[in-house]
């Protein structure tokens, strides 16, 4: 994937297992969000070579909708604002592909992200909600969709430390409900809750493996990254 003639992602080789929580760690500008958008097939992030194999099928040529119908979805770091769209209706949209959803299931999804249903169900997604509230609603919409692969772009940003535990719990719930989770994060707590982690730098996945080891490596070895001109030397 390239932009303005410059390669943004290079030689990505990433495998996410069934019901696996896989963290992507890396400095700002490493290409983590670009990887997430490319996997979802967003406009302007079309992949150029190679393949994206999902459940044995190359989905790289499919549209966003087609990928979503196969069970891939994305939660944005900065969720969209939808003027006039009620939270209730937004959460129901993702469930359409699963035969719909009951009001109680929507309420339960809100409770899982620590939002009181009676307070939020009839509010607008685009209303003057805080960043944290909008992020929780975004995550609730992932719960109601029940995807096979949930790509979460920094679900921890704008979330306080106390709420972070709930985000971690939510990610585990997604896994228990049958989803694989690819989560882009800067937080050690989320990395620690992962089954596997990969370290990205300059559009390259440097290494994948044990999340704590990868996290430690990122903290201790990646800082002197030579202004991110070249990957760090692996000792």
């Amino acid at each position: 994937m390239s932009r303005d003639g410059k390669k943004i992602l290079r030689g990505i080789n990433l495998e996410v297992g069934d019901r696996e929580i896989h963290s992507i760690i890396g400095a700002n500008g490493a290409g983590k969000s670009t990887l997430a958008y490319t996997l979802m097939g967003l406009q302007g992030y079309e992949h150029e070579e190679g393949s994206i194999i999902f459940n044995g099928e190359d989905v790289a040529v499919l549209s966003i909708t087609e990928r979503a119908k196969k069970g891939i979805t994305l939660a944005w770091q900065e969720p969209a604002r939808f003027e006039g769209l009620k939270v209730r209706d937004y959460l129901a949209i993702g469930a359409r592909g699963n035969g719909g959803i009951t009001e109680e299931e929507i309420k339960e999804a809100l409770r899982k992200v620590d939002l009181k249903p009676e307070k939020y169900l009839s509010r607008e997604v685009g209303e003057a909600l805080s960043g944290g509230e909008r992020k929780r609603i975004e995550l609730a919409s992932i719960i109601t969709m029940k995807p096979k692969l949930a790509i979460l772009d920094e679900p921890d940003s704008g979330i306080d430390v106390v709420s972070l535990k709930e985000i971690v719990s939510l990610i585990r719930t997604l896994k228990e409900n049958g989803s694989s989770v690819l989560v882009i994060t800067h937080r050690e707590e989320i990395a620690a809750a992962s089954d596997k982690a990969s370290l990205m730098c300059e559009g390259v996945i440097l290494r994948s493996g044990d999340p704590l080891e990868i996290s430690e490596f990122f903290k201790n070895r990646c800082i002197p990254c030579d202004n991110r001109v070249s990957p760090p030397k692996v000792v």
Partner: protein, 320 residues
């Protein structure tokens, strides 16, 4: 002869009631004598129910009806007053002239449905003069239901005076069926401590033409206002928005907010105008015209919706 007239009126009542229901109205309220309501088809008053605290006078004219409605001093009308205007035939003219007064300390909500289901060559004109008295309140919602032909001219014009401490909220919505030609022209004079909120929501299709002119003069100290316009136009439709707010008094606060979504070959123009001649007044504005927000579309697509369905939901949300 009298019997024939009665039957004709009865049929007309049925037709306009059916159109009212199709427009989203609850026809039962028009027949509930506990609620105030007025049903006008063309130039015929088909029914009129009053209630305590409301003085309603109506006079049929050549092409419409002259209405004078007064909410008496101190009366807070507990339930909305329902108004149903319309024309069922495919051609005709309806001119509504309205003098409305909410006397001091009164409060009322008017819900108007304007139904023109078969309009091919119809003119619907409203000319209103409204006075919201001291500490009085009027909430006025006007929802239009038009058919698919677009052969209608909608020409609502109103001048509203809000006296000290009064409040006026209006929501004009024309999102069902074809707009045809709309020329919306409202002006407001807001006195001390008054509040005014004007919302317009219009969805233009095919070769619809939409002109919206809203003007608020914040004449009194601490008067506050918002003009909020939400327009969606597609195909070859055209829209022109002018939202003017003038701050003439200390601590007057106003805001003009226009958002337009265009698709296809539609053309939109939005001009928010702010004028201030008092250094302690403040009036702000924002206007945006563009396609549907890409992130919103992609978010809904990532939940499994087709692109067209995603756009439809976003546009309907904006106009909701």
């Amino acid at each position: 002869m009298a019997q024939i007239t009665l039957n004709a009126l009865s049929r007309e009542t049925e037709d306009i009631t059916a159109a009212y229901t199709a427009a989203g109205g609850d026809a039962a309220v028009l027949h509930n004598h506990g609620l105030a309501s007025l049903v006008v088809s063309g130039n015929k008053v088909l029914s009129a129910n009053g209630t305590e605290g409301i003085v309603l006078e109506k006079k049929e004219t050549e092409y419409g009806v002259d209405i004078k409605m007064t909410i008496k001093k101190g009366y807070k009308i507990p339930l909305p007053v329902h108004l149903c205007f319309g024309l069922v035939p495919k051609d005709g003219i309806q001119e509504i002239k309205m003098d409305f007064v909410a006397e001091e300390d009164s409060a009322v909500e008017l819900i108007a449905h304007c139904t023109f289901p078969n309009a091919e060559k119809v003119i619907h004109k409203m000319d209103a003069e409204m006075v919201i008295g001291k500490n009085a309140s009027l909430k006025y919602t006007e929802t239009h239901f038009h058919g698919p032909y677009g052969g209608i001219q909608v020409l609502p014009k109103a001048h509203i005076k809000i006296e000290e401490g009064g409040s006026y909220y209006t929501n004009f919505s024309l999102i069902s069926g074809r707009v045809g030609y709309l020329e919306f022209d409202y002006s407001v004079d807001a006195e001390k401590d008054s509040i005014c909120e004007m919302v317009t929501k219009v969805y233009g299709k095919a070769d619809d033409k939409i002109k919206i002119l809203e003007r608020i003069s914040l004449n009194g100290e601490n008067a506050r206002s918002v003009i909020k316009s939400r327009l969606a136009i597609t195909d070859n439709a055209e829209s022109m928005f002018r939202g003017i707010t003038e701050g003439h008094a200390p601590r007057a606060r106003g805001h003009v907010d226009c958002m337009e979504v265009i698709q296809g070959n539609a053309k939109a123009e939005a001009v928010p105008i702010v004028r201030v001649d008092n250094p302690l007044a403040k009036v702000t504005h924002e206007a945006a015209i563009g396609c549907v927000d890409k992130k919103e579309v992609e978010t809904l697509m990532a939940r499994g919706l087709e692109e067209d369905d995603a756009i439809d939901i976003i546009v309907k949300g904006m106009l909701a």
